[in-house]
Symmetry: C2
Subunit: 418 residues, 2 copies
């Protein structure tokens, strides 16, 4: 029809995986594909009372425009909680309330990225940061990671090869998709590099509170001497995602500029949602809620690890997350997880093929499994079905040469698959 | 501190006017500066009951992630209402629920604008579209308007001079800031030009329902044969702005691409807010609410027009809006509305200097007055104070040569003042 769009729209397409995953909305499907928190823990009744109280007694404020920065009491509560949990020293006036962390990512893309700028990230990295920032047409530079976090030597080497490295994006706790957590030593060494090179870091920490074992580690921000780290956090994984409430914490001058961008993006986040969460935190013990969720997610992780151990062939390697919502599996070389997903969907079970988490593509034999949203029995049943589909796939193509096996890895390369 | 930001950040600055207007939050200030709806009409009690019901009975859904497009019943309600009021034929699957119309603007900027593209707009135009789209570094081309709307000959001439005209942005009903409404004839002729040239139009209609007199006119979209018009509408002015709920209506392929952009921007709009407004519209008569608001705003407009007539010198020209929230005043040549604002703030009264509504600057002798948020007595008192400040300013600088009078119009020019 000849309407001319912005050039950035070239690479934004609806993904075929997303189409496949639409079936996961059918109740009979056991879905390990989403990142949905378990809804049985949403405090619906408590929030019903709180919403009623706010709207009856303070409706004119709850329903009116408010400031871009956010509801002042909530900003104080977020700062206090963040500092206690992450060993940081943010003040309330460095907290910007956002409409989910996804908005925090959008704002950071706007703040930092020109076309062709390099963004460094873990390999694999969070799927939705790729979609969010591809709008700004950066070049993605993936840095290898292992079970202790980003490979620091590789980071330095990649930085040396960059023309305009503008940002580093990392998820140091229970990463999505890998489930991995950075060691203390790796955090320190990473921040030494950052400090020396003066490159801004987006530290995204949606899962840090969902720790099943071991001790909490300080945030990267705790080692930041130059105001280079911007911290993103959210209520979506520790409370309720549907309220779309998250925060961004940054020091001047980044903070003020981000506020101006947020004003142009959506003026401010829902006043009612902000007042509800603030009053909830005043009245109830959010930490207690988090402990309850964590206990259940731990059982579910254990159920998934046990099922993988029992059902999957020995060549399948999986991570063992100490928290969060996801684990990561590497299938035998040559197995294409998309083809496996096709067969799994026919068996009413789903996951996300791993390639989507690599901004430059490839790694087609990997997959992400979410364990937070299904009870243990269904987890066991689902893994059994995936193992069955995998066995079938390998049987039909035993030499890795037939359909379902990756014939040409390079065909999967190419910038910017969201 | 040496952190390198995106180039787009060069032109985004906190405005000095915004700083001046911070005083308007003091309760003793009579502010004509905001665009705030009157909070006494927010249905706090009704929404309290509705929120309680939704959260008690359907909390797992209201608090969980939901689809990017929006809550299905709400999309159906919006389509039906929009078509009835604007003479359009949108289907529910062409409605995208957004976090305020501001987000609709952001998404349209992302969809269409590359650096250097031309955006055509009314002169003056909506302040916040300038801030929103300057992020994408377009060139603003202002088209003169009169009391019947955009000057069509001037539009054609401006289009002929453009290299890459990508978008036309217009507010045909009770425009912000001018209060003007396009005539039927002007709408038709505008759409003939658009149809012939194939240029997308963003038709922003936040105020259309707030009509005080005369008959509603069909939307530009009603004359759109090629799917070129994207319609923006909002609950902020007819219901409650604090819920941040608005919509964007577009035909394929623009719709699908906008959904992908929204997904990268904030995933989806608050599920609870959407369910609340949907249930409210099911249970209550929103049209009745709108009639009530409109009656009051009409009285306030009349009060403001009467006060302006009584208090202001004859050279001050004002528009006479048939609806909406704003009117527009042109002060005598040479008077600088910023300087006047400084004096007004000292007298506890405020407005927005008009220059901010011209993307290329200038027109420093203009001002926007909001009449929706103050009762008639305070409106009268406020206008009296402004008239007093104006008299004082003119007395002290009688020849237009001293402080407060525009000495060098060209100094105010320059692209992209938000």
């Amino acid at each position: 029809m000849g309407i001319q769009l912005a050039r950035r729209m070239d690479i934004l397409k609806a993904s075929d995986v997303r189409e496949l995953l639409k079936v996961t909305q059918r109740p009979e499907v056991i879905s390990f594909a989403g990142g949905l928190p378990a809804p049985e823990f949403f405090p619906g009744e408590r929030l019903a009372a709180i919403a009623r109280e706010i709207l009856s007694e303070d409706g004119a404020r709850a329903l009116q425009y408010s400031t871009t920065e956010g509801h002042a009491p909530l900003r104080r509560q977020i700062a206090a909680r963040l500092n206690a949990l992450s060993d940081t020293r943010f003040t309330a006036d460095q907290i910007l309330v956002t409409a989910g962390s996804q908005q925090g990512l959008d704002l950071m893309g706007k703040l930092f990225l020109d076309e062709g700028d390099e963004v460094l990230c873990e390999s694999p990295t969070y799927l939705s940061v790729i979609g969010s920032w591809n709008v700004f047409r950066p070049r993605w530079v993936e840095v290898p990671t292992d079970d202790d976090g980003m490979d620091i030597a590789a980071l330095e080497q990649r930085l040396d090869g960059c023309r305009r490295p503008k940002l580093v994006y990392v998820v140091p706790n229970f990463q999505n998709p890998s489930g991995r957590t950075w060691s203390l030593d790796r955090r320190r060494r990473f921040m030494e590099v950052i400090d020396r090179r003066g490159i801004p870091v987006i530290e995204d920490n949606p899962y840090g509170e969902l720790r099943f074992e071991g001790e909490a580690l300080p945030a990267l921000k705790a080692f930041d001497r130059r105001g280079l780290v911007v911290s993103l956090g959210t209520f979506s994984k520790i409370f309720c995602p549907g309220l779309r409430l998250a925060w961004l914490a940054a020091e001047p001058p980044l903070y003020e500029k981000t506020v101006i961008l947020k004003q142009g993006t959506d003026l401010h986040t829902s006043t009612l949602s902000q007042m509800m969460v603030s009053l909830y935190m005043e009245r109830h013990d959010l930490d207690e809620d988090v402990r309850r969720i964590t206990t259940v997610y731990r059982e579910r992780r254990d159920a998934m690890l046990a099922a993988l151990e029992a059902e999957m062939p020995g060549e399948v390697r999986v991570t063992r997350p100490a928290g969060g919502l996801f684990l990561w599996a590497e299938l035998p070389e040559g197995v294409d997880a998309r083809e496996l997903l096709g067969r799994c969907v026919a068996r009413d079970v789903a996951f996300v093929p791993g390639e989507a988490f690599f901004p430059n593509g490839g790694h087609r034999n990997t997959m992400r499994l979410n364990f937070s949203n299904m009870p243990p029995e269904r987890i066991a049943a689902g893994i059994r079905r995936i193992a069955g589909a995998l066995a079938e796939l390998r049987e039909q193509a035993p030499c890795g040469a037939a359909a379902g096996f990756v014939r040409d890895e390079s065909a999967a390369q190419g910038a910017g698959k969201p």
